[in-house]
């Protein structure tokens, strides 16, 4: 094959130096903490500059990765997509074995323990490059948004420091070449999420939410540590023998899992433990409860946390270690997996919860949980690529939705997030925010040309194609619910009659939801930048948005808030074109750039081509040539063989299972679009009847019908999961422990202490009488007497004459020398 001859892969400066992308934000964090308060923009300029630098580097990396992938094809596709339009070949039956594109690894020894060495550095693969770029991009936009949104806040500098470190932690995790670095980035993010959710800790609810997020995620983190340890003990021997690597290296773990020699018990328990970590981090059922509470943080934080960082970390972990999950759960054989079940449950329960929320951010939070369920469902059923693609598109439209909610609350509803009390009818007052919201909503619900359509429908389609018919219907049901709850949120926010603050009313701080910076900035020593001051005195009412007391009623937000929203809305419209699978049959496979550049190829690679890169013990390939052309390629049975189904030939390693891709069909697209459209129609009709015309049959239904009321309360109380955790589990575990500890304290420890005290007192008295008075005092008195007498005796030698002292000194030295000689000689 042509590709095999010219398989010298290109690399480049950006690919070699991916580690800079994460290092810059982390260094900036230290700079902001150290010098931020003395800078003209209170440290935000460092944060912005660092994210911009990271974005530039990440863009360069992405371009070089594309070049690298192209160079693997022997320059044949150097013209890229344009040329690919020409060949409308059928999918994946070309008989051409595409070479595995090795990640570019660059590591240093972090620390070593005996023969084990832990590296720290960077590993650029298609998946990590994609997400690195995404995180840098979203972080930059969110920081621009924050410039205005948190202006005047008491801890403005700390906010930027923490949010920069937060992005840095995610970047560290994404580029991790081994599990140790992955855990490091994972924990940095956990810490920063705690700091940011509890940013306004003066209010107790906020610090409680921060603690809840931290502890819930920690429950999952135990799984990460245990899973890493299990995988290490399972994979280490194999990795050392075959790849000259170790059991922490992610590539070695991938190869081990697919080698066919992996112990299935290690694989299974390792995968379960790791997935528990993902449940905690990515807010899957049953540990999703922290995500909606995390809305206590400032809106930019929610936006960043819910789009590209933190919650995506769990999905990324599954995607990165996909071979482990593939083998452990037999995804290739079409068995019903743990991951898919959890994902499907999450889709439905989170979507249902979104219906009963009054807080606009909580609706979006449950929507995120539900969309994460789609990603997990995709990963759990073998639809790797659509799930990863959904991470990509979801980041844009969900970030946009959150920023729109922030914009609405900042300029439209007087810092309230309550849709029922303070919003409504805002579409005319805030036209740009409204347009961006509608675009993102359509993208989220998967309407045809918008981003979500290309990814979400792909997930549903592939789930069905891989034999999970029931789960496919669950996915479709989730899509209906998504359309319905987003309709409700849109209606309540932007349509109908204005209510509360949206109608221009001012009503103090009596809302519990009103924890946005309102009362925090009151009494703060107004440390505003020059730009803000100029803005406030500019006289233009629309630009004086930071001066919220001067605002009378809702108005459109200022440019710093709108620019990120508009950019994100643009991507929410067009990001789907990065991988428009349904168009591939028409325009050729080359149009699916995600499939080409992000999905690792499932080609076995000979061991000789895999070398350890030295210090960090990460593995690298000399040459991505396939070991042997699989004979079954192109035949009908090709689908169920190859990497991930059969053990690779002795002496070769696979790094990715050969996942199958669904053939897009017009009927399926029509089905899902129709289902979503039906969801919309029902929801719109219901909303107008319920909220608009106050239909008598519908209003008050929850009070009149017992069944409806039960369901409503069940949802309103979030399935009583919080009550279960706090009252049952925590109480069941913590209370007996506390009680037992108390008893132990009172009866055992106190008794011991008391007895010891009494004993000590008696001993003390005896010691005083006998030892202290007689022996110690006697000794002290005696030594004083001896010193006195000796002094008198030696007084005559102290003549004060230097020469006499010298004589004594030398005499003593001579005596000492003679004794030494005698002792040594004899």
């Amino acid at each position: 094959m042509l590709a095999a001859e010219a398989a010298q892969l290109s690399s480049g400066w950006f690919l070699e130096n991916v580690w800079l992308i994460a290092l810059i934000p982390i260094v900036s964090f230290a700079l902001i903490i150290a010098f931020g308060k003395h800078l003209p923009m209170k440290g935000s300029e460092i944060g912005l500059a660092s994210m911009f630098a990271s974005l530039v580097l990440a863009t360069g990396t992405a371009i070089q990765w594309i070049q690298r992938t192209n160079s693997a094809s022997g320059g044949e596709e150097s013209l890229g997509m344009l040329q690919a339009f020409g060949r409308s070949m059928p999918r994946a039956t070309e008989g051409e074995v595409q070479p595995f594109i090795e990640p570019v690894v660059h590591t240093w020894v972090w620390w070593s323990n005996g023969p084990l060495e832990f590296g720290i550095g960077s590993s650029a693969s298609g998946l990590s490059v994609l997400l690195l770029w995404l995180v840098a991009f979203i972080s930059l936009l969110v920081q621009v948004f924050s410039l205005d949104y948190v202006r005047g806040d008491r801890r403005y500098t700390h906010f930027f420091a923490a949010i920069t470190l937060f992005s840095g932690g995610m970047l560290v995790m994404l580029m991790a070449p081994n599990m140790v670095q992955l855990i490091l980035g994972w924990e940095i993010m956990g810490l920063c999420s705690f700091l940011l959710i509890g940013h306004w800790w003066e209010e107790e609810a906020n610090s409680r939410a921060a603690l809840k997020a931290f502890f819930t995620v920690r429950v999952g983190d135990v799984g990460l540590l245990v899973g890493t340890a299990i995988i290490f003990f399972g994979a280490n021997a194999w990795a050392v023998d075959n790849l000259d690597s170790n059991g922490f290296d992610i590539n070695a773990i991938q190869a081990w899992a697919l080698s066919g020699e992996a112990n299935s018990k290690f694989l299974l328990w390792g995968a379960i433990a790791l997935f528990i970590a993902c449940i905690g981090k990515s807010g899957q059922f049953p540990l999703h409860t922290w995500l909606p509470d995390a809305m206590a943080g400032p809106t930019p934080v929610s936006s960043l946390l819910h789009s590209s960082t933190m919650v995506v970390a769990g999905v990324f972990l599954v995607a990165q270690l996909y071979p482990v999950f593939w083998q452990a759960f037999d995804i290739g054989q079409g068995s019903l997996t743990f991951i898919a079940i959890i994902g499907a449950i999450t889709i439905i329960i989170a979507a249902l919860l979104a219906f009963v929320q009054d807080d606009i951010k909580k609706v979006l939070a449950y929507s995120t949980v539900s969309q994460l369920g789609y990603m997990m469902l995709g990963l759990g059923t073998g639809a790797w690529l659509p799930a990863v693609f959904h991470i990509f598109t979801h980041a844009f439209f969900k970030c946009c939705l959150f920023l729109c909610a922030g914009s609405v609350s900042h300029s439209g509803s007087h810092h309230s997030f309550d849709m029922k009390k303070d919003m409504g009818g805002l579409r005319k007052k805030m036209p740009i925010t409204f347009t961006a919201w509608i675009i993102s909503t359509l993208a989220l619900t998967g309407i045809f040309p918008f981003a979500g359509f290309w990814s979400k429908d792909e997930i549903i389609d592939n789930v069905g194609n891989n034999g999970y018919t029931f789960l496919m219907w669950v996915g479709l049901g989730g899509a209906v619910l998504t359309a319905a709850y987003m309709t409700r949120a849109t209606y309540l926010t932007f349509f109908g009659e204005p209510r509360g603050a949206a109608a221009g009313e001012h009503h103090g701080d009596e809302h519990a939801e009103e924890h946005e910076m309102e009362h925090i900035s009151v009494g703060a020593p107004e440390p505003r930048s020059l730009g803000a001051a100029a803005n406030a005195h500019g006289g233009d009412d629309h630009d004086a948005h930071d001066d919220h007391h001067a605002s009378d009623g809702p108005h459109e937000s200022g440019p710093l808030l709108l620019i990120p929203i508009v950019i994100l809305a643009f991507f929410a419209l067009f990001a789907g074109l990065a991988n428009p699978t349904p168009l591939a049959s028409r325009f050729g496979e080359g149009i699916e750039s995600m499939k080409k550049y992000v999905e690792p190829r499932s080609t076995p690679v000979p061991f000789e081509d895999v070398i350890a890169t030295g210090p960090g013990e990460s593995i690298m390939l000399v040459d991505g040539r396939p070991a042997a052309a699989p004979s079954s390629e192109g035949e009908e049975g090709a689908k169920k063989s190859g990497c991930g189904f059969d053990a690779p030939e002795p002496g070769t390693a696979c790094f990715f299972p050969s996942v199958s891709h669904a053939e897009p069909s017009f009927n399926k697209i029509l089905l899902s679009l129709g289902v979503v459209a039906a969801g919309y129609a029902v929801a719109i009709a219901f909303n107008i009847a319920f909220y608009g015309r106050k239909n008598k049959h519908l209003v008050g239904l929850t009070e009149r019908s017992k069944v409806m009321r039960g369901g409503f309360l069940f949802l309103k109380n979030k399935y009583y999961l919080d009550a279960l955790y706090e009252n049952v589990i925590v109480r069941a575990v913590a209370h007996p422990i506390a009680k037992g500890t108390n008893w132990f304290n009172q009866n055992v420890l106190d008794a011991t202490v008391n007895a010891a005290g009494e004993g000590a007192r008696r001993t003390g008295v005896w010691v005083y009488d006998n030892i202290d008075q007689k022996i110690v005092d006697g000794a002290v008195d005696g030594s004083g007497w001896i010193a006195e007498e000796t002094g008198h005796g030696l007084q005559s030698t102290q003549s004060g004459k230097v020469s006499q002292y010298g004589a004594l000194l030398f005499g003593a030295a001579a005596v000492g020398a003679i004794v030494l000689v005698l002792v040594n000689v004899s």
Partner: protein, 99 residues
């Protein structure tokens, strides 16, 4: 043989130095005697270094020379101050250290 001669020379110098320190009244002469003692010790170091073949002793001798220079500096300063106060540097007249 050769080294033994060095040691004997060292011992002789040491004894002369000790005699000077104990017997002389003049403070400057005492300081010079101390120099003799130090040089005797340095000579011993070098001689033992020659015998063992290691270079450590010679390095030590260099250190002793450096320290001795500093020590003589301090000693002469003290002598100078004593002379300024008492117009004499006779050591047997100094008995302020009498206990």
């Amino acid at each position: 043989m050769l080294a033994v001669n060095f040691l004997l020379l060292g011992a002789a110098l040491f004894c002369i130095g000790v005699y000077g320190v104990i017997a002389r009244r003049n403070a400057v002469m005492v300081l010079m005697s101390i120099e003799l003692i130090l040089n005797a010790v340095s000579l011993n170091f070098v001689a033992f270094a020659l015998m063992s073949g290691a270079i450590d002793g010679q390095v030590f001798a260099l250190y002793v020379i450096a320290v001795a220079a500093a020590e003589v500096g301090v000693g002469l300063a003290m002598v100078l101050m004593i002379y300024r106060n008492r117009k004499s540097i006779a050591l047997d007249e100094l008995s302020e250290m009498k206990g």
